[in-house]
């Protein structure tokens, strides 16, 4: 029991938020807030920020493991490197890299060598693979269909030369892998892989009663939540002869979005049919065509641990076709927008079906919504 347990419960409810941010900044950043005037890149993994106060900060970007899982032991090693060669400070990026701050290019290069000696890669700026994002999937998540962390590990193993800049890309590349149709990282990555059931899921009839009202007479007054959340009315509830509530999924209407699984653990599916959909052309930045959501290229391909051979091959193929066809500076969305989705489908020889028609990317979002038309 700690001393603060004496706090009244209502006091304990209140969150302690880490503010103001200036309190947490190391001095060399605190005195330069708002003063950054220029930047220079030194390779794909070191950037120099130049302040109008005369300060220079050299930042080294180190790619994190899949799902950004670090042991405290490894993080302590990075902290030690930041102390030995750097400015006693580091930053985690939202995409899963560690950035260590140093005072000179020579110091930054020492940090790079130390990180590489630990088996890590330095890179991820400019025309490179910036990151592959992974949700937690089988590590903690109840709704996961495919395991994103293992798939992302395998992708990183194959795509590391794109991160370091050893093999050049036309522009920045971000990949996001979500283990279920929610696609947690969103659709604003250049390539998005989304795990899903491949077929309509079903209810575990023995256990689903835990997600339903006890007695059938409430039907009509109450819609079971697992039915209410369905966006396409593909879930039907009905009274069973024993007076309890029955529920079923109408496979013909189902789109496999997994919202029923969000509110009820007892949705089941056939692991032999799971796979990932492959979407391309998402981005959040207003560069080029501006922010746009990725569109479905292929609705389903197999995603089988631990090698994920088809998934990896398809991602590599997309990158190769983009590399061969895009102009310098064109992210996948810019390239798709210029040549047309139809041509991309043709180059990849993707079979067309009712779930993947080559539509155009929708643009004009973000700040462009406020500009004169």
């Amino acid at each position: 029991m700690s001393a603060t347990m004496a706090r009244a419960p209502v006091e304990r409810l209140k969150k302690t938020v880490p503010v103001p941010y200036t309190k947490y900044l190391p001095d060399f950043l605190a005195r330069n807030v708002g003063h950054w005037a220029d930047r220079k890149f030194h390779g794909a993994g070191i950037v120099e920020h130049i302040s109008d106060t005369g300060d220079h900060v050299f930042t080294v970007k180190i790619g994190g493991p899949s799902n950004i899982r670090f042991s405290t032991e490894t993080l302590r090693k990075f902290a030690k490197i930041a102390d030995a060669f750097g400015s006693h400070a580091l930053r985690f990026t939202r995409s899963g890299s560690i950035e260590i701050f140093t005072e000179s290019l020579a110091a930054a290069q020492k940090v790079q060598r130390e990180a590489e000696a630990m088996g890590f890669f330095v890179g991820g700026w400019g025309h490179t693979l910036w990151s592959i994002q992974s949700c937690t999937s089988y590590l903690t998540c109840t709704t996961a269909v495919v395991d994103a962390p293992s798939l992302v590990q395998v992708l990183y193993n194959h795509l590391a030369p794109y991160f370091t800049g050893k093999i050049p890309l036309p522009a920045k590349l971000r990949i996001n892998v979500g283990g279920c149709p929610t696609s947690c990282g969103g659709l604003v990555s250049d390539i998005v892989l989304t795990g899903h059931y491949g077929a309509a899921p079903d209810f575990d009839q023995d256990r689903v009663r835990m997600c339903l009202p006890m007695r059938a007479e409430v039907l009509g007054k109450v819609t079971p939540e697992v039915q209410m959340v369905c966006p396409v009315n593909a879930i039907k509830s009905f009274p069973k002869p024993d007076g309890s509530v029955g529920v079923e999924i109408i496979a013909k209407k189902c789109i496999g979005c997994g919202r029923c699984k969000d509110v009820c653990d007892h949705v089941v599916w056939d692991p032999a049919k799971i796979g990932v959909s492959v979407l391309i052309g998402g981005k959040s930045s207003n560069t080029g065509v501006g922010p746009t959501l990725a569109r479905v290229l292929v609705p389903w391909i197999p995603a089988q641990a631990p090698d994920y051979r088809e998934t990896v091959a398809v991602v590599r193929k997309i990158i190769d076709v983009w590399r061969a066809d895009a102009e310098s500076g064109e992210r996948i969305a810019d390239w798709v927008n210029r040549v047309g989705m139809k041509r991309v489908f043709e180059q990849l020889k993707v079979p067309l079906g009712r779930w993947n028609r080559p539509g155009e990317l929708n643009t004009g979002f973000g700040v462009r919504q406020f500009l004169p038309r």
Partner: protein, 410 residues
């Protein structure tokens, strides 16, 4: 270090298979998350079993921490063998740490936790697996170092911001200060501790149009910095960059998505038409600081973006152009209250905007805004990331992907 039982694998072929998979996942060139997890006490066999069987091992579990209702998630395995409890922990804005401060956090992850973290989860918090019997004390330990459990469930989540003026030349306003402000704004602060909303609430802030925080897609309330009119040009500085061949002015003109740039080779003068400028920042990125954002700095305020919601992933819709992101806090609180009164469980604000009409809802609360509403909504079809396929359809796509796999593997 206390941890969940590692269990024996006698008579469990799926666990054996999963362990074999994990060993293989440790052998690639990229640093392995499996190796990192194995160094700590995370219940790795539960994960191995999941991989071996081909579906997640976890069900929702339960944990109770006195007077703390938000910020932790408990799991139990379907076979009843393992439990897992993790905290979401607020980072300081920008996720920047002095090494001494980071060590204090790592000490907590070791002393009360399982010795590993997910450095930044999708919600923006650090995910720290904890020992269940020390969870209560861990809350106090986190608060003692000035942070706390972050957002889980149907609550106001963490506020995601770009690194902003702390380390970025392009920052047009102080995105980090906006996070601090909204965290402390009383009617928002009170929402951090309860899960009484239809679904999650997210607010994201990007200090320039490159939108590093992904506010345009992934937030119910989004702020993105931009400028009105044309970027500012330092003609002398730009000429020098051109003479040194660091910048190709013809290429800048060609790449400009608004076709707003003209280069007069005779007078060596660059001109940008502010009415055509799309704020793509392409010229700024290539010629900075000879070209920078124009002086009239503004903030685009949008609502209703989300990855996860009833009607699928969406881009945010425009509300108004602001001078200060703080001035719309009353509007945000009113919209949250309205949505909370109306939407069923698991419907995001963006779903309500689709159902009731976004313009009607914005009009209803426009008196709470400091300026007139503005902006237009481009059309966008609904996007479904999943699909329901027949065996024949799956075979077609499987054959296609296998042909590509052969191509790469010879």
């Amino acid at each position: 270090m206390a941890s969940s039982a590692q269990g024996t694998s006698v008579g469990d072929p799926l666990l054996d298979k999963g362990r074999e998979y994990l060993n293989r996942l440790e052998k690639g060139p990229w640093p392995s998350y499996v190796t990192e997890l194995k160094k700590g006490g995370y219940p790795i066999d539960a994960y191995a079993k999941g991989l071996g069987q081909g579906f997640s091992p976890w069900y929702g579990g339960s944990a109770r921490i006195p007077a703390v209702f938000v910020g932790f998630i408990a799991r139990r395995t379907k076979d009843g063998k393992y439990t897992e409890l993790h905290f979401r922990v607020y980072h300081p804005s920008g996720q920047i740490y002095r090494t001494d401060d980071l060590r204090k956090l790592l000490d907590i992850a070791d002393q009360y936790g399982l010795g590993s973290v997910e450095a930044v989860g999708q919600t923006g918090d650090m995910i720290v697996p904890m020992q269940a019997d020390k969870a209560n004390a861990a809350v106090d330990a986190l608060r003692a170092i000035g942070t706390d459990l972050g957002g889980t469930g149907d609550t106001y989540r963490d506020t995601a911001v770009c690194v902003g003026p702390a380390l970025c030349e392009y920052a047009l306003f102080d995105s980090l200060a906006i996070r601090d402000f909204y965290f402390q704004y009383p009617d928002i602060h009170s929402k951090l501790s309860s899960q009484l909303f239809p679904f999650k609430i997210k607010l994201k802030v990007s200090a320039c149009p490159m939108d590093c925080s992904r506010a345009t897609h992934r937030s119910d309330f989004g702020f993105v910095g931009f400028w009105e009119g044309a970027p500012a040009i330092d003609q002398k500085g730009f000429r020098e960059r051109v003479e040194k061949k660091e910048v190709d002015p013809e290429k800048l003109a060609k790449q400009c998505p608004g076709k707003a740039i003209r280069w007069d080779a005779a007078t060596k003068t660059l001109s940008i038409d502010g009415t055509k400028c799309q704020k793509s920042s392409n010229c700024i990125r290539h010629a900075f600081p000879a070209i920078k954002a124009g002086p009239n700095r503004k903030i685009a305020f949008t609502i209703g973006g989300n990855a996860k919601g009833r009607w699928g992933p969406k881009m945010a819709k425009p509300v108004a152009v602001l001078d200060d992101a703080r001035t719309v806090a009353p509007f945000i609180v009113k919209v949250i209250d309205y949505w909370s009164d109306r939407s069923p469980h698991k419907d995001r604000l963006g779903d309500l905007l689709v159902q009731e009409g976004y313009d009607k809802i914005v009009a209803k609360f426009k008196d709470s805004l400091p300026v007139e509403t503005s902006g237009h909504v481009p059309g966008a079809p609904r996007i479904v990331t999943s699909s329901v396929l027949s065996d024949a359809e799956r075979k077609t796509y499987a054959d296609w992907s296998q042909a590509i796999a052969h191509e790469y593997e010879g």
